[in-house]
Amino acid sequence: MPRSAWLLLPVITVAGIVAFVLIGRPLDDFAASAPPTEEIVVEQVRLEPGMIRLTVRVDGSDPVRIAQVQVDGAYRQFEQNPAGPLSRLASAVISIPYHWIEGETHHLLLLTSSGAAFEHTIEVAQATPTGSSFGLLLLVGILLGIAPVAAGLLAYPAIRDMRPAGLRFLLALTLGLLGFLFIDTIGEGLEIGGEVLGRLNGDVLVWVAAGVTLMTLLLAGRRSGKPPEGIRLAFFIALGIGLHNLGEGLVVGASLATGAAALATFLMVGFVLHNVTEGIGIATPMTKARPGWQVFVALAALAGLPAVVGVWGGSQAVSPQFVALSFGIGAGAILQVIVELGGFMVRQSGAAALTSLSGASIMYSTASLRPTIRRARAGRIECRKWIG
């Protein structure tokens, strides 16, 4: 018998244990009088005139029956589609005819047959954007993503004429910028991952997506056997920033759709200032090349277009697990660029790469200009603070 046959033994043993637990049911005594464990998360909220539509996902030891629904502390008529008990990880749409009030907060409560209550708050009620607002959202996406990156790229001729010391500083700045974006992206991803149904492990999703993306891009970047430099490195930076901007776009879109629209102007100014530095970062590794204008257009599109997609997607209330996944991928892409750009700098200038810390601090300070994404989600009290 080959030694590899021993591999069968663990498989057989595990199968035996599972069979014992499932068929013999030795644990039922523990659960005999215990109520079922239940969890409901509201993944999406769509507000239409006179109607609140929730997409919910459930988890539980038994199928979950949503028995009654409260809006603002009053029981309401509702319809569930599909009707009936929801099995583990299933989702359904709950439609509640309700004259929600523009600009005000609404509290929802879903009560299961066991009497467990699950709450969800619509911080600031606003109609979910429809086709008519597509143009506006497009504008937001362009202003948010493409415009600032393109503006940063315009500095390319000046960057190329810089002395080596100045260039090193810019590269260090770029590295710091990316470091900041990485932390920011992971943070956003974990926050949204926390809103995901427990069993779907939103936080783990962020880390795994980041890891897989990092490895994939590292391998792709080094296909030729050496790390990417010059225009190729610029493209990888643009890709990383683009994926990051997809996540940012999703959050901004969701904020706009769920009531932070009053912040839009303020938000936009902050984003533009913040993202201009991203354009400079993309341009810096290309000083030794002579890229044509098409390259710049492609770079701006790669880094900025995902923001447009993100803003639209976010406004349509995408699932939190998808947003978490986007942030995870974005974080992985940024980390890849950090690795490659860091390697590039160390090869070129050694310990001077440490000046990249100054980049992070600049990013931190410009980031304070767009403080509102997360806080806009946290509540309208903050919104009120900014509005008035």
């Binding site: 028995a67 009053a74 309700y98």
Partner: protein, 342 residues
């Protein structure tokens, strides 16, 4: 004031009386502005119907003791029971005789009472009566508390006359009461003892000619905390939210109405009753024969407070008249109903 929504006469015509059918309830459901529960409670499975609870007085059994003394006697069992407190929502209740509120015990001032209490439940319980009784009949931990599988006999005289309640006084008190161990305890005045207000007393006493014209209703204001956060998810009278909304309580115009109102709501200090388009006289605790409040349309009660409300729709046009807690949050969570005046 809460609106009637689109409730129409036409839909009323389908309702033959106080006990309407499930189909009627469904037809109403479209017309109440969306503030409603979805589905229908299976009263049969629960073993009690809120419409029956309004009037099902339990007079017990009058027996003669060995020494010839006349005693009014009841048997009450504490029973653990899951009840559907709202459509599709199940609550692990503790009950007296399998229902929440427990049976409405009714007797006459001065009678000797005997309550045989059997604890078929899983925790120690008591019956603590609001009334006048000896210390050893108080029904509190240490005095008349009954362990599962055991029994106790409470004996005392019925006094004072009025609208009272009984409830479990085992600890933790809040949990024992809120899980369903409470009921109404009515002591009718004996007209012979109140020559100065004989007629008023006679109209209160069940079975007298003066009493015959009255329509009497038991309303126990209660609530249920289904998720143990010390806040009620549901409010109602007689346990089932909105029970009298789609299926109104039928009132004959010519006859005066008397409501025995008891507040056993836990967690909230105060509950209230407001009747639309009418005013009533209120007898706090029911222990007087002249009103303690006259011509009011809202009355509030703290926990365990109770009283008697008397009013008439004689001069009103027929139709639906709302009644509800005027804590509107209670109303929207189920404590809302209609009188259907015919």
């Amino acid at each position: 004031m809460l609106g009637l929504g689109g409730l129409t006469r036409a839909s009323l015509a389908q309702s033959p009386g106080a006990v309407a059918t499930a189909a009627d309830a469904a037809s109403y459901a479209h017309d109440i502005g969306g503030n409603q529960l979805v589905g229908i409670v299976d009263h049969e499975r629960n073993g009690f119907d809120p419409h029956a609870v309004l009037t099902d007085f339990d007079f017990g059994e009058v027996v003669a003791d060995q020494d010839g003394r006349r005693v009014r006697e009841w048997t009450i069992r504490a029973i653990d029971k899951e009840i559907e407190i709202a459509p599709g929502v199940f609550f692990a209740a503790w009950t007296y005789n399998g229902r929440v509120p427990g049976p409405t015990l009714r007797c006459v001032e001065g009678e000797a009472l005997r309550i045989r209490f059997f604890n078929d439940g899983s925790h120690p319980h008591t019956i603590h009566f609001h009334g006048i009784h000896p210390a050893r009949m108080d029904g509190v931990p240490g005095v008349g508390e009954v362990n599962p599988g055991e029994e106790f006999v409470y004996e005392f005289a019925a006094k004072p006359f009025g609208c009272h309640l009984y409830h479990c006084h085992s600890v933790p008190l809040k949990r024992h009461i809120h899980k369903g161990l409470y009921g109404t305890f009515i002591v009718d005045p004996d007209p012979e003892r109140h020559p100065e207000a004989r007629e008023a007393a006679a109209s209160r006493r069940f079975g007298t000619p003066e009493h015959a014209e009255w329509q009497e209703l038991i309303m126990v204001m209660n609530g249920f905390d289904t998720n143990f956060d010390d806040e009620n998810e549901f409010y109602a009278v007689n346990s089932i939210p909105f029970a009298y909304f789609g299926q109104p309580i039928r009132i004959e115009r010519a006859r005066p109405v008397r409501v025995y109102l008891v507040n056993v709501t836990e967690f909230d200090p105060v509950n209230s009753l407001h009747v639309h388009a009418n005013f009533f006289d209120y007898y706090d605790h029911g222990t007087t024969l002249s009103p303690t409040l006259r011509t009011v349309d809202t009355v509030m009660q703290c926990q365990a407070q109770r009283g008697i409300i008397e009013f008439s729709f004689a001069d009103h046009e027929p139709g639906l008249y709302m009644f509800h807690a005027h804590q509107t949050e209670f109303a929207e969570l189920g404590w809302m109903g209609h009188f259907e005046v015919v």
